[in-house]
């Protein structure tokens, strides 16, 4: 069994962008990673003192489409993570 990895682009918006101190990052994750796995990875790496990226509070878009957290991530995906929207 070989372990492959894929590269993705992750964008953060609003309070999440500010609290993580970055608006965009390129990450390498194992193939067959889900959105939920990515969120945990980001929280472990960047958000230890920061509950903001709690999966109960964020929304995720893959290639500009809102997705559920069991969505599989693919090579070159554009992943966006953000708090609830407050438009108008």
């Amino acid at each position: 069994m070989t372990t492959q990895s894929i590269t993705i682009q992750v964008k953060f918006f609003a309070s999440l962008r500010e609290s993580l101190g970055m608006s965009q990052i390129n990450l390498t994750v194992p193939v067959e990673s889900t959105v939920e796995m990515l969120l945990k990875e980001i929280q472990d790496t960047y958000g230890r003192d920061n509950p903001l990226i709690d999966i109960r509070h964020v929304h995720v878009a893959v290639n500009q489409q809102l997705v559920e957290f069991d969505q599989m991530i693919e090579q070159d995906d554009e992943i966006a993570i953000f708090p609830p929207i407050t438009g108008g």
Partner: protein, 152 residues
């Protein structure tokens, strides 16, 4: 016929209305416009500045989808949505929605529908600066309620 723009620059109701009127010819009997303005007081207190963030591409698509839903539901000749982003201050214009239809019932309903969905399904995030600190705004239950009544 419709037009969706997300921009930092201010907009002119006059220019948009004039262009809309010229496109309409004599078909439309009713034009309803909504303009959202930055209030100097919000639910949380005084507001000195408002920052609006968006997700370029996805935000425009989300608005296009809202407009398409309104066009399926009502008979509309023209829909214009302009939403500003970036740094704003009290009295500034935030959003313009113009809806033209043959009859006023369709134009009123569609304009209110678009605003209710802009508040809940368009990708914008608002940060208010008050007398002291800046806070990211939380979605209100009232906005969610207003959107959900359209599903009945």
């Amino acid at each position: 016929m419709h037009s969706v723009r997300v921009q930092e620059e201010d907009f002119s109701i006059h220019a948009e209305w004039k262009a809309c009127h010229e496109r309409l010819g004599g078909k439309a009997g009713a034009v309803v416009s909504f303009v959202g303005l930055v209030r100097e007081r919000s639910n949380t207190g005084n507001v000195s500045r408002l920052y609006l963030e968006h997700y370029p591409g996805m935000t425009e698509t989300s608005i296009e989808q809202i407009v398409a839903k309104a066009q399926q539901r009502w008979s509309l000749f023209d829909v214009i949505v302009i939403h500003r982003v970036g740094e704003l201050q009290p009295e500034d214009q935030i959003v313009l929605v113009i809806v033209a239809s043959a009859h006023r019932a369709d134009a009123f309903a569609a304009c209110e529908f678009i605003m209710d969905f802009l508040k809940t399904e368009a990708f914008f995030w608002k940060k208010e600066t008050g007398d002291e600190e800046a806070v990211w705004i939380e979605p209100t239950l009232n906005d969610t309620y207003r959107r959900e009544k359209w599903q009945k």
